[in-house]
Amino acid sequence: MEMKFDGEFSVAIPRQEAFELLSDPQKFAPLLPTFHSMEMKDEKTANLKVKVGIGRIYGVASTELTLEAAEAPLRAEYVGRGKVMGGAYNMIAAFDLEDAGDETLIRWSGETQIYGKVLSLAGGSMRGYAEAEINRLIGSLQLALSSEAEAAAILAARAAQPQGLWQKLLALLGLWSPPEVPVLASEPEPQEKPALRLLAKPPTRKVLKADEAPSTLGKIAAADSIEMDRKGSESWVGSPLRRKEDSRLVRGNGLFVDDLQTSDMLHLAMVRSPYAHARILSIDVSEAQALPGVITTLTGAEIAAVMEPYMQIGPEPGASIQDYPMAVDKAIYQGEPVVAVIAETPRIAADAAELVEVDYEVLEAVMSVEAAAEDKSILHPGSGTNKVWEGVYEYGDLDAAFAEAAHIVKIDRLHFHRFSSTPLETNGCVASWDNRGEIEFFSTNTFPTIGMQMMAPALGVSIDKIRCRSHDIGGSFGNKITSYPGMTIAALASRKVGGQQVKWIETRNENLLAGGHGGERTFLDTEVALDANGVITAVRSRHLDDCGAFPRYEPLGCVIWSQVLPGSLKVRNLRIDFRQYATNKCPAVPNRGYSRLQHLWFMERVLDICGHQLGIPTDEMRRRNYIDEFPYTTPNGCVYDSGDYHQMLDTAKALIGWDDWKEKQRQAREEGRWLGIGIGTTLDSGTNNFGQAQIVNPDAPFSGNSEVCTLKIDIDGSIVASLGTVPSGQGHETATAQVVADELGLGPDLVHVRPGTDTARNSHTGHSGTYASQFAVTGLGAVHGAAVKLKKEILRLGAHALQAEEEELEFGMGEMGAQLTVPGTEKAIPFMYLANIVNTNNAGLPDELDDVSLNVRYVFRPKFELPDLEKKYGNLTLTYAAQVHIAVVEVDKYTCQPRILGYAVVDDCGKQINPKIVEGQVHGATAHGIGAAIMENYLYDEGGNLMTSSFSDYTPITALNMPDLTCASQESPSPFTFNGAKGCGEGGGAPLHTISAAVQDALVAEGVIVGDTFNSATAIFELLHGKGSRSSVEHQSLAG
């Protein structure tokens, strides 16, 4: 919006005199009605301070006033720019002088733009205010150029009227009243600053100045800072920016679920089953309820009476499982909730939980898939079997491949152990279910939209009645996806107590017992066909997956592994007979690398075992077997988008110093030491096609994928993004700001990304969440789409406002922040002003802009087709990041302790949005894998007792155990994503393959096969001494 004014007045002085005054900024500036002080920047430009005031608070604003043109004695032209209280103005004023007898006629024209928050106060009557501003300037001018008598008359007339923008506004709001004159009798205002008189009385309270502000306020102001140095990168995307999130987190100002506290909040403690499989005979809560401070208790029977079991994702027989959040008739894993106690403090709740008496009849625990398959003891009576799902994945011509094979290698059994990434923050929530029927969660759940799809039908409420929020989450790694049963219990507890907030926070012990374990898998009867060169031509095997007590999310694990069916290998003939069983262990949950890392470990183990049998070195085995053309369509129709595995292997070998280590290994072997070098190649498939759920269950209502970003320019011009994702440390706020900043030509500091999630923001679909390595693609796809959409609106509105063509407009930064300009002209409009137009100041907006809101919601949907369900064929994932790891491991001959002597990592996740964040993900995933390979194991005894139920037994890897990593990365941009990026969060469990391979290489002379992912000192000792199960391998050489 531009406003133009003009007029003329005469003064009784000669033209030259008038010109001298008008063309000298030093003389002219003090005439401005709100003049306070000035400093000359150069001859033509004055840095002015002008006073502005609202009510009792007044301040000083800076303005730059430049004499743009002066043509003696005909013309003077000024340009002014300034900022005031959340608003700003541009002004142009020109004076043309003409002789008119003794007098001088001054024709003036003025043009002004005012924008910012102030406009929201002013409503549609902005023109009046602008007019007033200009009139006041002209008034002052007239005054300065007039005789004293005239001046006095002008002043007297003016004092009774509100003057200037601010006072006009206040007058409108009824907050301004004419001042008592004189205001400061002892300090009469000099006449050239008449406006000062109107600033009412001095403030009685101390005015808060930024530099005097208490430190806490200062800290809050700095809380959202982000680095503004691109470090050589051309765009914000691609630069290793420090994260926006950090400033609150390093101060301890994060808001994790347990940090939410209110004075009347109640606390929930669970009574959990001490048995893996036991019938509940009776429950006595009377003593617990009698404890002062206890509000109520909740049992499984009470819960089952008011809710339906959760939906099962899988088909029969799994579909018949009755899944409640609490044990009803019997408990089926150690740690299953049996009773909840709700009390005034967490300590009273824990005490009371101890007082609950439960009588159990212990039943036979099913502690392995092999035992489960026998169906002697059945967990879920409704389904009549422990089998949850079965299906055969067969591709190519197995019979022909085996008939033509030069070598056949058979491996009887391999086993992938149970572990999880155990986020440092456990599961929890604050839940309320109020008397208006609104359910609200502040939780750690990282895929709340699926949780809501589970809970809403089970609780008989519409999904909109459930609101899920989070702010900061202390890691998830997939584990927190399935915290909805605990959330349901907390919500029901709240309902029982009348709607008060109920907080449920797992202890670490509870988390290890019942917070979710990564899936365990056993690979039986594997047969591998190879040609004479050691190229694998066929693999067939039976995979038995152990999903623990409930499948919950888990039937999806029965297909997700097939995203990486051949691993990194060219093999075209595969047959995997896949079955999933329920056992009396903690329910399995997605865990970093979910379902793929089990399979990738299997394929890598197969490759290395075959290499050992055929006497082909591990690096050479990979050379011969790696996929080397991209995009590559796998036998089951997945498309590996890009990569260069050979190059990665070369880089990894260089990083570790391959030849040196080979030499050291030779020496070590001479000395009788066990030194091994192992390679692991892994894939991190990202952005699921949920259509694969239909391979598990043709009736599953899922396919494709989607994510949402809502992006707006808020009323005051702030740029605000709301995501559908639920970050737990991955830096989504930062990456989002980078993408938006590039698209809108501004700095990432100006993009406020709302932390965490909130379904009330209306920025989610049923796929929204943080899982499956997809933020860089789906999350940022949504962000990018929203930014493009918003940009279009900005251009349309900007073109109208500046009376220019959209093509002429340029994005950039001005004094008032992000703005649109028409290059080569003075025309500029800050976003702040555009926001004002649509939000609070829209009178007169033309019809064709009716759909412009500067508040856009974009749903990103990657292009996927439904797979062929019959053939189990189709593209299941959009991107395939890859990593090659090499580890050097020495196994101590006496203690069997594996020690990692060197560790190299090469990753390729396509275009990196923020290399710092990518590096962090690579390090983190590597640490999880190394921890899992040598330290972390959920170990059950035969009776179903978890032997590793504290961090002292389930020992998460520490700084001392973690080797120094040598890292490198390469970028093979994905041709299938808008930004060339690939998901990179999971790392594909590479250390599991790598360490298994290295330990195998170390022990090669001992004639043992490393057949398990877990290779702690004890595990290696048992392997060497024939305890526990051992894999045996048979090699038939058929070639002539």
Binding site: D246, V250, G252, N253, G254, F477, E919
Partner: protein, 166 residues
């Protein structure tokens, strides 16, 4: 040998100075120091990650020493001076450790960070020029599940450099 039922015990009056400010409270004798900080003082920067004194998320400084505040009762800290993460930054800005953690991406979810920072600050007070090994040893009691420690070690070195140059 008369009573065995759980009983409520009298609250105990304590005075603890936290980040330079003195607090007087009556607390249950079994209230842990970490609970006192989080619930009584609402200083929720100090986190809880385990129940076996293993993870270090609760690390604070007690009269200068880095200690796990889940391993002490609040009453044991009576009269002591406690420093928590909330006290690290000053009017002048972030502590060099806080800056370095952000600069070198020494944090992801930030859950371990407060404890990590307190352990590291105690280390740097004692050993201004620590080796990798010194750092690893001193943060071996602080579990981080996100970063793989690589960048934490880098961050501590960077902060040590800055503090020495200051």
């Amino acid at each position: 040998m008369s009573e065995t039922k759980p009983e409520f015990v009298e609250a105990v009056d304590i005075e603890i100075t936290v980040n330079g400010k003195s607090y007087q409270r009556s607390v249950e004798p079994r209230m842990l120091l970490v609970e006192f900080l989080r619930e009584e003082l609402r200083l929720t920067g100090t986190h809880i990650g385990c129940d076996t004194s293993y993870c270090g998320a609760c690390t604070i400084r007690l009269d200068g020493d880095a200690v796990k505040s889940c391993t002490l009762f609040a009453v044991q800290a009576d009269g002591a001076k406690v420093a928590t993460v909330e006290g690290l930054a000053t009017e002048a800005g972030l502590h060099p450790l806080q800056k370095a953690f952000s600069e070198h991406h020494g944090l992801q979810c930030g859950y371990c960070t407060p404890g990590m920072l307190m352990s590291a600050s105690a280390l740097l007070d004692e050993i201004p020029n620590p080796s990798d090994k010194d750092i690893k040893k001193r943060i071996a009691g602080n579990v981080c599940r996100c970063t793989g420690y690589q960048n934490i070690i880098k961050s501590v070195h960077a902060a040590a450099n800055e503090l020495r140059e200051a």
